[in-house]
Each structure stands twice: as structure tokens, then as C-alpha cells.
């Protein structure tokens, strides 16, 4: 598969004449994002109508609860933290042409190790240090977990879609085994790890319930974006992704880079697990698997692996999932409808993004 790294429309213009263009560009972006969402809402709305629910009431609840109320927006922003880390990890992998579909397994193992280490570490060191150590341990464990597909791909050429999917099935089971048999909290009948006290978790932002994990997630994804687009290392990874034979020809150490990509990608997925546990959940229960990875993958593609665009889409996804649950409850629609809504939004956005890209490409090149 090829990743289209053709320059996209979001290039920053510095000179004065271009400022006008930029404003028009922003308007255009806004239109190209809101337009499709509106279209998606109309399609989803007709499903609601069919089951006898007022779509307008539904959407106003989604908006109110996911975006416009202080409580809602805090929840939305909190939900974003692990998703941003996952998206950052996927951006690295996808730009380098590695189809890491094992994010969920890496996420869970990161989560379990963070959940196991943090409560133990706070006993012996300051909370902030314990958190940092837990982050590092979670990252390392996820990295090690990714070594099998990485080495197989790097030195044996085994396709990583197969291996990462297999490793995610394995990782999910392993996480359960760890929770039930190794790290189990003896104090509860429910199989779960020890709970990290609320006051030892990542601090919340100001006077809100928003986790500071959000900031970490933002830093992670922006760093990844800049590294991938502005540095030699990022360019090397993109060369490997776009044409592995060219990478060999250019003298890049493809196997080592491959392992590095997997390690970074999995490490970020592990951090995603850790940030969710250390910032919000406090422990891991047996059989817990939020399967964020599956929802984040399409988001990263829609963003064309651009970190800033991914932030926007992750935000949208969070609004929909937080607001959708609330709206469904209030109107007596099963919560499953949120899935349908997300799906329609994804498809319509993909369609619009494609049309926009084609339009932009021809327009920009004709200008030259």
C-alpha cells in the first residue's frame, strides 16, 4: 500500500499576500469538515426518524453534552488523552508503511503494567517519580511486545498485518492472565489490579476534571508530527514507507529502522494505556478492552497522517462518543446507535476528503 505524502493543503504561508489565501483556506477547511459532518448527520438522522426518534433533539443533546456544557467538554477532553497517544503511534507506523494493527494488544499490556507498577511504586517513592517510572515501564513492555512482529518483518519479511493482528489477540489474553493470576488485588473479589489512589494519579488541569494526560497526548502527537515532517529521521522513515527498495538503494538501514518504527509505535500505544490508567482509570479489570485502536485507525488515515488534523478528528470522535451516549440515554435509543453515527461520519468524511484532495491538487498545480 502506498501512503500519499504529496503536500497537502495545510501548508503554512508566511508572506502577506498569502495571508488572504490562508484565510480562504481556513474557511475552505471549515466548510470541508462541517459540510460532510452535516451530511452525515442528515443520513444518521433519517435512521433515527425511522425508529421514531427526533433527530434534532438527539443532535442537540450530542452537542450540549459532548461539547457545549462545561461538564461535557471536560469529559470529551479527558477521553482524548489515550486516543492522541494511539494516533501518534499509528502516524509513525503508517507513515513508515508498517501496518501496525496490533495497537489494542500493546495498549492493554501498557495499561496492565502501568496499573501493576504505579500502586507499588508510590509506596517507595514520590508520586511524580512513580508516575514517570510507570510510564517508562509501560512503554518498555509494549516495545518489547512489538519485537516479535518487528523482527519478523525486518529480517524475515513476514507481513506485519498478520503478525500484529495475531499479537493483539495474544496480548488481550495475556493482559487478562496477568490481571487474574499475577497482579491481582487480593483485597477484592473482582479480578482487578491494585488501585492507584486518586490523589496519586496524574494531576487534573486547573479546577476541572480534565486530566493532564491531555497535554501529554498533545505533546506526543505534535512531536511525532514535527519529527515525521521536519527531520531527517522522519524522512528516512517516510522513505522506507513509500518505497522500501529505494530506502535500501539509498543506503538506509531498513531492518533497524523497521524495528525502530515498531518500537516507537508500540511504545506510544503502551503510553496510551498508561495515560488512561494513571490519569483516569486507576486500575485494570479483567476482560477490560476498550478497543480504542479500531476507532483510531480510520481517524489517522482521514487525517492523512497529519498530526494536527488527527487532533481535530480525535476531538470529533470524543465529542460523538461522549455526547452520543448521553443523547441515546435521554431519548431511549440504544447506545449502539453511537457506533452507527461514528461509522457514517467516518465514511462521509473519507468521501469528502477525497473529493477535496482531488480538487485541491488540480487547482494548485494549474496555478503554477
Amino acid at each position: 500500500m502506498s501512503i500519499d505524502t504529496a503536500p497537502s493543503a495545510g501548508a503554512t504561508a508566511l508572506d502577506a499576500t498569502a495571508a488572504v489565501v490562508t484565510r480562504r483556506d481556513i474557511q475552505h477547511r471549515l466548510l470541508m469538515t462541517l459540510g460532510p459532518i452535516l451530511a452525515a448527520l442528515i443520513i444518521a438522522g433519517s435512521i433515527l426518524l425511522a425508529v421514531g426518534v427526533d433527530p434534532l433533539a438527539y443532535y442537540s443533546f450530542v452537542l450540549k453534552r459532548g461539547l457545549l456544557s462545561p461538564l461535557g467538554i471536560q469529559q470529551t477532553l479527558t477521553r482524548m488523552a489515550p486516543l492522541l497517544f494511539l494516533a501518534a503511534g499509528l502516524i509513525v507506523a503508517f507513515r513508515a508503511g508498517m501496518w501496525n494493527l496490533g495497537g489494542d494488544g500493546q495498549f492493554l499490556l501498557g495499561a496492565v503494567t502501568a496499573a501493576a507498577s504505579a500502586p507499588a511504586l508510590v509506596q517507595v517513592m514520590p508520586a511524580w517519580l512513580a508516575l514517570i517510572c510507570s510510564f517508562v515501564i509501560a512503554m518498555l513492555v509494549a516495545m518489547i511486545w512489538s519485537l516479535v512482529p518487528a523482527l519478523l518483518r525486518a529480517y524475515q519479511g513476514v507481513n506485519e498485518i498478520i503478525t500484529t493482528l495475531m499479537m493483539t489477540f495474544l496480548g488481550t489474553s495475556l493482559a487478562n492472565v496477568l490481571v487474574k493470576l499475577v497482579f491481582r488485588d487480593p483485597g477484592t473479589t473482582v479480578p482487578q489490579t491494585r488501585t492507584l489512589p486518586v490523589e496519586d494519579r496524574l494531576p487534573r488541569l486547573f479546577d476541572t476534571t480534565i486530566t493532564s494526560g491531555l497535554l501529554l497526548g498533545l505533546v506526543a502527537i505534535i512531536t511525532v508530527h514535527l519529527v515525521m515532517t521536519r527531520t531527517a529521521f522522519g524522512l528516512k522513515l517516510r522513505i522506507v514507507g513509500a518505497n522500501p527498495r529505494a530506502a535500501i538503494h539509498a543506503g538506509l538501514g531498513v531492518p533497524k529502522l523497521t524495528v525502530a518504527v515498531f518500537a516507537i509505535s508500540a511504545g506510544l500505544a503502551g503510553l496510551a494505556g498508561a495515560v488512561d490508567i494513571l490519569g483516569v482509570q486507576g486500575n485494570v479489570r479483567a476482560d477490560w478492552n476498550p478497543a480504542y485502536g479500531l476507532a483510531v485507525i480510520p481517524v489517522v488515515f482521514l487525517a492523512r497522517m497529519n498530526g494536527f488534523a488527527a487532533i481535530g478528528f480525535v476531538f470529533l470522535l470524543s465529542v460523538l462518543s461522549i455526547g452520543g451516549e448521553s443523547a441515546a440515554r435521554r431519548l431511549g435509543v440504544p447506545n449502539h446507535f453511537t457506533l452507527v453515527l461514528v461509522s457514517i461520519v467516518l465514511i462521509v468524511l473519507a468521501l469528502a476528503e477525497y473529493l477535496d484532495h482531488r480538487y485541491n491538487q488540480s487547482r494548485r498545480e494549474l496555478k503554477r
Binding site: L294, L339, V340, L341, V342
Partner: protein, 311 residues
Amino acid sequence: MTGLFGEIFLSALLFGAVTAAIPLLLAGLGEQMSEKAGVLNIGIEGMMLAGAYLGFVGAFYSGSLWLGFLTSAGGGIAVALVMALLCVRIGLNQIVIGIALTLGLEGLTALLHHFQFSRSYPRLPAVDVTVIPLLSDIPVIGPALFRQHLSVYLAVALVFAMGYVYRRTQLGLNLQAAGDKPAALDVAGIDVVRTRTIAVLTTGALAGLGGAFLANVGAGLFIPFITNGAGFLGIVLAMLARGRPVWVLFGALLFGVCLSLTTAMQVAGINIPTDVIQMLPFLAVMIMLVLFGRRASLPAALGIPYERGAR
């Protein structure tokens, strides 16, 4: 043999292994067809769910399993049509659309089930089996393998039919060319988009049938999320099989047998956590990959939309 591991029990285990393998087999065969033609079909889980739901609805209201299979294939094809339009015809990203379709059908079928069946939980009557004379009298294996629903035999026959198509027909050549070098197929006068569309729609039909088998024969009913990742297993099977339908069959049976082994060990009273046992088939495959893993022979154009004359 008597006691815990009596003949009846062993053959029930084997029977269960086959029943569990068939949906994976159909999904894997379907996915293999798409992949051969260069389309990575991640939406197969959604197609299976559509097939499971519509297959159940068809069978339940008509009283005929076969009508259920028909409606399920229709359901799978309908979802595949969306995929074909968006990913093959206009070339949208296959992974985005595939995952979106899976999410959407998980939600949609759960929603429909909620409004339709969540009070009555209707179940189908027992499926009737076709007994193959003589073979069915073999101890243990006979009752397990040769007293199955007709659709099981048909699914296995399909393995060989697909093998024939791939190796002995023009269509087989076309599919392989569409996956390996679509431009060459195009200049040979065969429409790449049409070839890939046929492949994707066939995948939809097979995935739908797999879903229907799971719901109607495997469970006898439909409940939300009934496929439980079977479609993703199908993707793994198809990729491991390297284009050969028989290997999909072996892979599906391996998973089926592992599931039955879990049950066997528990019934034998062996105290191993189920999570550990559940890891076995995946561990087995990973070890095989580590030992024998060689360059993957995936089609060169897998996942890349074809656009005539593009540079």
C-alpha cells in the same frame, strides 16, 4: 474408551470443531478472494454481521435455512457493494472504509435486534443433518464429520471449487493479475475495477454466508456482536494461506480444534485458566511464523486503488 472421553463425547468435540471452523472458513475464503484481487477487505466483520442478522431474519420468518442463506448472501453483498463503490471504484482508503463498515454494522445490527428481538429472543429449530452412508458409521469420526448439515459439505466443496477457479479459469488469472499488476490486466483488455468489484462482492456473499452459518447453524439465533472477531480471524487465515484455499480450510480447522480442546481439557477437569488455553492457537501460529516465516507472498498491489493511466 469409556467414561469422560467416551466416543459420543469425542465425536461431539470434533463435531463442534467443524461447526466452529465453517464460519472462519467462509470468511477466510472470501477474504482470500479480495486479497488476491488486490483489495484488503477489513470490513469483513461487518459483512459477516450483516449476513448473520439478515440470514437469521430470513430463516426465522421463512422457516427455511436455505432462504436464510440466500438473504445472508444478499446482506453481505449489500455491504460489499458499498465497499466496492467507495474503495474500488473511487479509490477511498480501504482500511478506513473497512473499519467504518464494521463499526456501523455492529451498531446497526445491534439496534435492529434491540427493536425486533430483544424481548422474544427467537431461536431456530434444530438443523437437520445429511447422513453420508457408510462413512458416517466410522467410530468417532463418522458421526462428527459425516452427519453434518448439508451446508457444511457445500462449504468444504467450495474450497475445491475456489481452488479450481484460481488455477484453471480465466477468472483466476484475472484475479491474480488484478492483485499483482493491475495495469497489465487493464492493457490486456480486462477492466480492473470490474474484476476487483466481482472479487469484493464475492467476498461479501461468502462473509454473509459465514455469518449466517454462525447464527443459524452455529448458534441457532442472532444476538448483537455475535461474530466476536471471526472476521478478523478470517483476515489472518487468508493471509497465512498465501492464496491457497486448502490452507484456509486447514487454518480454520486448527482454530476449531483448539476451541474444542479447551472444552475437552475443562471437561477432563484440568485446571488451567481458560485465558491461557485460549492463547494456544495464536501461539501455535506465531511459533510457526517464527520458525518458517518467509517473505510474505502478498499481492504486490494489495490495498492500492487502481487508476488507469495514473503516474
